[in-house]
């Protein structure tokens, strides 16, 4: 199976809708252990992404993801702006001028995105950040390449997001709380969960076709 520009756009639009819906939920999570803007930041950024890509015809997935990354980079700010921005830019470079991709391409692009997040944010697994969702999900995809079970991705992503609850934050704003960060889901892990759940949701459909 191949994933085309239509599917990637669909994913980004669905992700945008989800983030608009969950804006307050993400903000509540960030109020508990951060500064209460993660929902606002993500909603602001993806609203711009949605407008941008809706009104542009793309010939390559690389161009589509690059626009997404640049929009996030220039509209979000905070910690999540450079991280999600970098992720999409790295994925864009990885995919380049293909107009459709295999699951292997996609998985490699997401690996590149994760590398970008880690290089930019210098956080590691179990620091209670978005990486705690990204890394296990991408490991699963890498290890299962052409036989990815998208329901398993959803399950895993959810599980890893929930698991951030028990962690003590060492990076990002929540780190100032030390032990008091325990007991709360990391907001970036929550938005990353939407990222993967919406992706899985779209690709499940593609595969069925």
């Amino acid at each position: 199976m191949e994933v085309g520009i239509v599917e990637v756009k669909l994913w980004l639009q669905k992700l945008n809708r989800k983030l608009q819906q969950e804006k307050e939920h993400l903000t509540d999570l960030d109020q508990a252990i951060g500064d209460g803007d993660h929902g606002l930041n993500m909603a602001r950024g993806f609203k711009e992404v949605s407008i941008k890509i809706e009104n542009t015809d793309y010939e390559t997935i690389g161009a589509l993801l690059k626009d997404t990354g640049m929009t996030l980079l220039t509209k979000v700010g905070g910690a999540s702006g450079p991280l999600y921005g970098t992720a999409f830019l790295k994925a864009a470079t990885s995919i380049g001028d293909k107009s459709s991709v295999t699951l292997t391409d996609l998985s490699e692009a997401l690996e590149a995105a994760l590398e970008g997040i880690k290089a930019r944010g210098k956080a590691n697994l179990l620091d209670k950040t978005m990486i705690d969702v990204w890394e296990p999900v991408i490991l699963y995809m890498k290890e299962n390449r052409e036989s990815i079970d998208w329901d398993e991705v959803i399950r895993l992503s959810n599980e890893k997001m929930e698991a951030t609850k028990e962690l003590e934050a060492r990076k990002g704003r929540a780190a100032y709380l030390g032990k008091r960060s325990i007991g709360h889901i990391d907001p970036g892990a929550a938005s990353s969960n939407y990222f993967f759940v919406e992706l899985a949701d779209v690709l499940k459909g593609v595969i069925k076709e």
Binding site: L73, G77, G78, A79, G81, R170
Partner: protein, 331 residues
């Protein structure tokens, strides 16, 4: 939410317009950006200083743009660090060829966005250096974590690095003295009430009627301890002790003191705090060279304050005394 605003989404742009309208003799806004620069930027033969961060800390940072302090300030959304393209615009607008120093407060978002801007600038051949302010002793300093936050002490970095740049010093020299201030300044804050980000529409956290939060961050990040309401003297003692513990001053050191209001604490109360602070310092044989009392680094309409102490030497004293002429700070 009781605020004098029009549209929560427009507060930053409307504030910047109102700011430039009020102070055209000092500043202008770089078109289509949220960047404020000196009206005469780029100043030839001078290193450019750029600071910034989320909005909601007014007069930080635009209020300190002017002769002897900053060349440019970048305003992000409320409590959200500005994006790399905006910081890059500021760098371009203030660089006279002598390079630009970025003064960054130690928040993951600020650090990453300013770093990306620096990379963009360097790729266009602009010399950029950066310093990271981390004066807040409420947070433990550790290399495994994000480390300490940058708060009101940042204003003293602006002042002193700004004076150094105004003297015509090189980028390395300005960077060096900025780092010297950072190594010698410590701060700690506390809050009585929360604050409300306009687009969030509700307070960022809650504090009981009989509680205060010691060690509060300037974005409402929780502090060290939630206590019952203490007196001004008790609060001053807690904050100053922690600051001094970390700063390790010798007897008869000279210091600059900043008692900073977070937004809705009346000057009266800040002076009552300063009364105790100055008594304590005198009691420890520390010489107060200069005191600043007022609002320098706020948290929208939070009630509370922070205390900063900067250890001075002859170089820092000379630079502290140098002329500064900005909307919010004049010497």
């Amino acid at each position: 939410m009781k605020k004098l605003i029009n549209d929560p989404e427009q507060v930053v742009q409307e504030m910047l317009s109102g700011f430039v309208a009020a102070h055209p003799q000092y500043v202008r806004q770089v078109q289509n950006t949220s960047v404020i620069v000196r009206v005469d930027a780029p100043v030839q033969g001078k290193v450019g200083l750029v600071s910034g961060g989320g909005s909601g800390h007014e007069p930080s940072h635009g209020g300190f743009v002017g002769k002897g302090m900053l060349d440019g300030a970048v305003a992000g959304e409320v409590f959200t660090s500005p994006t790399p393209d905006q910081v890059f615009e500021a760098i371009k607008a203030v660089d006279s060829g002598k390079g630009v120093l970025l003064i960054i407060k130690n928040y993951t978002g600020d650090v990453m966005n300013f770093e990306m801007a620096a990379e963009l600038a360097e790729s266009e051949g602009i010399k950029v250096a950066k310093v990271i302010v981390n004066d807040d002793v409420a947070v433990e300093d550790s290399t495994y974590t994000t480390g300490r936050r940058g708060i009101a002490g940042t204003v003293l970095v602006h002042k002193i690095a700004g004076a150094m740049a105004e003297k015509g010093a090189s980028l390395e020299e300005v960077e060096q003295v900025a780092n010297k201030v950072i190594q010698n300044v410590r701060s700690m804050g506390m809050a009585l009430t929360p604050c409300t980000v306009p687009s969030a529409g509700k307070p960022g956290f809650s504090i009981g009627e009989n509680e205060m939060e010691i060690g509060m961050g300037i974005h409402g990040e929780p502090g060290i301890e939630r206590t019952e309401i203490l007196t001004a003297n008790e609060v001053a003692e807690i904050l100053l002790s922690k600051v001094l513990e970390d700063l390790k001053l010798e007897e008869s050191s000279k210091v600059a003191v900043m008692v900073n209001g977070l937004g809705s604490t009346p000057l009266m109360e800040l002076y009552i705090m300063n009364n105790k602070v100055s008594q304590m310092l005198k009691g420890q044989n520390i010489e107060i060279y200069q005191t600043f009392v007022g609002e320098f680094m706020t948290s929208i309409e939070m009630a509370g304050c922070s205390i900063s102490v900067l250890k001075l030497d002859d170089e820092l004293i000379e630079l502290l005394d140098a002329e500064a002429n900005t909307p919010a700070f004049r010497k």
